[in-house]
Symmetry: D2
Subunit: 345 residues, 4 copies
């Protein structure tokens, strides 16, 4: 039985607490928050769980094997590092940290101490994204592009741009679904509120192959859109997360290339493009709550000394892109190479 402490009972913490309290193999010991009214909300809802406003108490508690962190991103590094240094396994909200350097230090610390470090890339535990990976990696052929639109009205954040708030989801999904990793990134965007971070942004991800990825995130859209198009040489996918049931549609569509060498005055090669349109197929998806299986995986990894799917390295890869995108945003989309960083890592 793995003893769990949760720190932060704001927006996402209640989901962690609810799910940990139902995770086989885990025992939720204590919840920590600095706000007394949040602690009293825990007590009303979970009378058997201890509450505290003292993070150190969690660190000292020998019944607690792992700490889950659901606080603002600026505190992730500090809390996670202290938990690791106290010998606790750690589960951190996304993004794992505010900078590449912080993320790298967490990864190193966890590795040194052989502790499980997991980042809460919740989407990769949904039935939709798991099916997406299955299809992309077996059936799509060569992956041509990945295009995501994730827009809605609100909630504007004051400390991070829309890239850190919304694009982080797309980056974590791409990290899981695509076999290739981006080598460079550029981003453009705009803030429409004076003195505040960008509320609309467009990211380009460049790869060594012919794959191109693009993400549109926007806090100021009249409608909510969560739609990803993925094109491959053999199939194409529309993943619409707002569809109640058929979230993933696989189209047997594409182009066929007829290399037809014709000698003539102007072109040696006349490439003919043909169009292929076949059936569409929407696979049935597992609808288990993603967070439930994510936490079960975290607990299992502690038990068996295994590595979770979204480990510290995954968290680091995502933060590396976020950091580069943020830099690019200030320079009207200058391309930032991720290569060097990659070599260092």
């Amino acid at each position: 039985m793995i003893g769990i402490g949760v720190v932060g009972y704001g927006y996402w913490g209640p989901n962690l607490v609810r799910n940990f309290s139902e995770t086989a193999g885990a025992k939720l010991i204590s919840v920590c928050d600095l706000r007394l009214e949040r602690l009293s909300a825990v007590r009303d809802r979970y009378p058997a769980v201890e509450i505290t406003d003292d993070f150190e108490a969690l660190l000292r508690d020998p019944r607690i094997d792992a700490i889950a962190i659901a606080t603002p991103v600026s505190s992730h590094f500090r809390l996670a590092m202290r938990a690791l240094m106290a010998g606790k396994h750690v589960f951190v909200e996304k993004p794992i940290a505010s900078t590449v350097e912080e993320a790298q230090r967490l990864v190193d610390e966890a590795a040194k101490r052989r502790l499980v470090l997991a980042v809460d890339h919740t989407f990769i535990h949904t039935g939709a994204v798991r099916k997406l990976r299955e299809i992309v990696q077996d059936g799509l052929g060569e992956v041509y592009y990945y295009d995501s639109v994730r827009v809605n009205l609100g909630l504007f954040q004051h400390d991070v741009s829309v890239v850190w708030d919304l694009a982080v989801h797309d980056l974590s999904i791409m990290d899981f679904v695509l076999q290739e990793k981006a080598v460079a990134v550029s981003a453009t965007g705009m803030s429409h509120v004076a003195g505040e971070p960008e509320n609309i942004a467009y990211l380009n991800l460049f790869f060594d192959s012919k794959l191109i990825a693009h993400v549109h995130v926007n806090w100021l859209a009249p409608v909510k859109v969560r739609r990803t198009l993925i094109g491959g040489s053999r199939k194409m996918i529309v993943y619409d997360d707002l569809e109640p049931s058929e979230k993933i549609k696989v189209y047997d569509k594409g182009i066929t290339l007829n290399g037809n060498p014709q000698k003539n005055g102007e072109k040696v090669y006349q490439m003919l493009v043909g169009y292929r349109t076949g059936d569409m197929w929407a696979p049935h998806l597992n609808v288990t709550e993603a967070l439930a299986s994510e936490l079960r995986q975290f607990v299992d990894c502690i038990d068996r000394a295994e590595t979770p799917e979204a480990d510290g390295q995954a968290g680091l890869r995502v933060v590396r892109i976020l950091e580069a995108a943020t830099l690019s945003l200030t320079q009207r989309g200058r391309v930032i190479e991720l290569e060097q960083a990659r070599c260092v890592a």
Copy 2:
């Protein structure tokens, strides 16, 4: 009565011929094409219209006041220039020419000879886009962003990239709808067919204000999308050209900014963002065929010595962005300033 000659009876030419033959004040005299089977198609359908494979014959014909050009873009400049030099008014398919230099020379020639030079930016004559301009210029408030997705499967072209084929529509619509003109452009994209131009591309348009514009064009998408989001300080718009009736939806949504000066240790100003959601409204749209009113306007402009809404300058502005985007595409999205060009023009 304005005598009309049409050159090119391929994909779009038949629409010009059909509409000119029904335009009050115009008389379709002759259709020119190099392919005899296309000419015989004209004769079958319009026994009263003359046919010829000799472009010079149109130029010499005193009954012909204006020439409409619906040939491949690479021939636009040559044919349009000869028509202007023969004293004919000219209506050219979009884009007006292959380069800024060509477009500029057409503009200059038409100005010198006081001839009407129109470019076929068909979309600006649709009920939807005319309503769009009306709302954007009176009701939207400050325009924050313009975001268009124009994707489908096919038709791949061999001589121009998807930017020249599809984004040209968005650029012509923006030129008509937005009061501001872009000052810089960047574009990223990819070709998935060896040796062929880009089949997917993302354009960013930069303005002097806080407006940002973005266009996603793609010949290799599993579904057809024609959707534009426009955000303003007072209203927001979704323009979906595939909707059979409610193509334009105006949302009384947005953010409200409460400048709330609070003295405290860290921030003198605490900006609070509020969200406003009100009714949605889909205005009834005029459904007249766009090309019909476009040609009527062309003929009227000749009659009255007026300037059409999409004149040579509009065609030039669009080509300037297309040319800059094409350059940017080869440099992974380097920003190309349009300022200087603007000054020259």
Copy 3:
């Protein structure tokens, strides 16, 4: 402060308990259920609320002013009648009872004792249905038809047909929205599971005017649909309850009649129908939880000795149509007059 007892903690009961525990002016005293595991679920969640498996205990408890009943429909009459006879105000799940006779007896008992008798027609407390009534009663003109489709896969019930399970919602909405009351009903349907009640049914409601109403309910549909069309002489409405935001769309569409008296051999009157199409408008809707305002209204009515919008009479009217429809179902849609029943009532 109104003391509340809730009986039944199955599917809907938890919603009542959660909302009553947050209703100003109400104090949730006790929850009753025969199943001990359900009672222990109450205790875990609401430690301060008393639990019992003895319905009589609620009746005897002087702190309890009102009893809310969320048990299977077959027990509604018995429990509600006993509560009324014990001097308690009553709030009953829909439908209010299993037969017209039962419903009538509840109405009479409540009237005699001057107690509040409310039926849980939840939908009429949604922002959408309240807006619907506003538009139908002021703006639609003469109401021509009301057409509802309410279909999905599951949940098949064993004791009542799909009419009692799903159409009850439409009947309660119509009762609230339309100013006219139906005078006759017919219904056709089919059971596809041997020995079980109808899982698909079509209801026709007849009125004294030119209004016609129709309801399609189905437990065996591949997709979920919740869509109502309402046509009037001045406007038409689409109410789609599955739309996340624009649930109600009002179309300025319809026909215009030109009475054009022409004497000729065959017709003295030639009626010409014209078509009118204008804007569409989706009003912003209140998104408060319906049940919360419904329970607040119930408590207020007790306080002020007023009649709730969905009182016993409303419950009775709906059961009268359900009972007639059930009879008609067995006779392939024979029309059952509601007139006589109406006179008696």
Copy 4:
């Protein structure tokens, strides 16, 4: 080569003329209409086709083997009968005639003279409906229900109700797709224009099995809907004819019945219903113009002395239901048996 004469060049006639002029094996000889301006429209468009306002001329013309009739329904019988009596094969617009008696006489006359009698049930020649039949007859299992909604604004007709105008399509599709034939029909509806036929109607079709069919047709709807749900024991279908590409969606969904005999006090048999949800699949559809293959089939049937898919019997079956529905409409949905009629036929 089969010589063709077309009578009626109004709304649908031009489609017949255009398609016959391109049908291999057919030669369009002459078009007949009483209105001179319609005949001149034929001459402008098809200079090689003869025109006449004398129907008898078609009958006498030995080059004409078959006559296609696209006139108002009230004249179908008279024109078709004269054509058959003149020894011509006949292709008639839907519905084949105004009454069962007329339709029967046409069928008998054609049979007696061994002439091909076809009715223009265009929909059964679309890729969508052909695929529908394939799936319904092989894959759906036992067919449980067929539910169609076919509504829009306009065009009101003065001589026939919406049933004859719109439901005729559904009846012809059902006749083709379902293996069973209806044994009884009922219909309710309403006219909202004084003195005019019903503009909204609901049809029920009863079968000997557990199949139930229902059609909602409406000329006064704010939106256009063309949606059919078909439920079977193994699969379920949504056929949406307004979808640009995926018109047919096949859902691997349904119920599973567990006959679980349990002796207990109340029920010997406890039937448990389970729900099964699997993949959805949208087959690729043939997009050839339906009318083209329909006319080719007509010509082929004449050549080979075969029976077309939509022969006089199919036309008669559809008219039999239309006539019964019309009778039922006047009696608030009284069930009209088709059995007897069936025996006679």
